[in-house]
């Protein structure tokens, strides 16, 4: 049986997502079975770019409006500088032929990286299955993650 690797993606920033997807795609390329478990702010990375995202009460609707999410809207965790720093990093990534997060998600899916969205965070934030990109195939909780992690040789929290 192939070795496996898991990553809890808790953060929703561009730089942290970059680290998570770099390791996920490399692990899959090295023959590992990779599971990414997106929870809390990590859900921002896999939210749909277009259309209305989220429903529920006023607080949840407001949260999803302010914090729209989607791979192309992620910001740097440091030096965002009202978006200027993020734009600079994205431009540099293009200059050096590095894939943007949206491309890395597609690459990861092509390498059979399993992407799971945390159902508890989804409930908290008023998100449904239709609010996520199609690469997300599973919706589950902590037990599903821990079952995978207990078999994993590499388990990371980003």
């Amino acid at each position: 049986m192939a070795e496996s690797m898991t990553i809890v993606v808790f953060s929703g920033e561009l730089d942290r997502a970059l680290a998570a997807f770099t390791l996920a795609t490399t692990g899959a390329a090295m023959g590992m079975e990779v599971t990414m478990f997106f929870t809390f702010w990590g859900l921002d990375i896999i939210k749909k770019e277009r259309g209305k995202v989220g429903r529920g009460n006023a607080a949840q609707v407001m949260m999803n409006k302010i914090n729209r999410g989607g791979a192309n809207r992620l910001k740097l965790s440091r030096m965002n500088m009202l978006g200027m720093g993020t734009r600079m990093i994205r431009a540099l990534m293009r200059k050096y032929n590095m894939e943007q997060i949206a491309d890395m998600i597609k690459t990861a899916a092509g390498l059979n990286v399993k992407m799971i969205a945390c159902t508890t965070s989804m409930a908290l934030m008023g998100l449904g299955e239709g609010d996520f990109i199609p690469e997300v195939q599973e919706f589950a909780g902590a037990a599903t993650y821990l079952a995978a992690a207990s078999e994993g040789k590499v388990n990371l929290f980003v």
Partner: protein
Amino acid sequence: MEADAVLDCLGLYCPMPIVKTAQKIKELERGQVLEVLSDDRGIKSDMPAWCTKTGNECLGVEESEGEFRAYIRRLS
């Protein structure tokens, strides 16, 4: 060294050379050699590591003027 196929990864950084190598090697027969061209110096360490992990043979990584040529024999 004579290779059966060449993969040009010039201008690409980690993780792309490894990801592309993993995809490309599937097109070769077992025993055939893939040459990977890269200018990311990480390849010197990454390619042998990838080969060890995937059960392929790294025949060497040559360096000349900032360009690296890694030779991999498909075994797995």
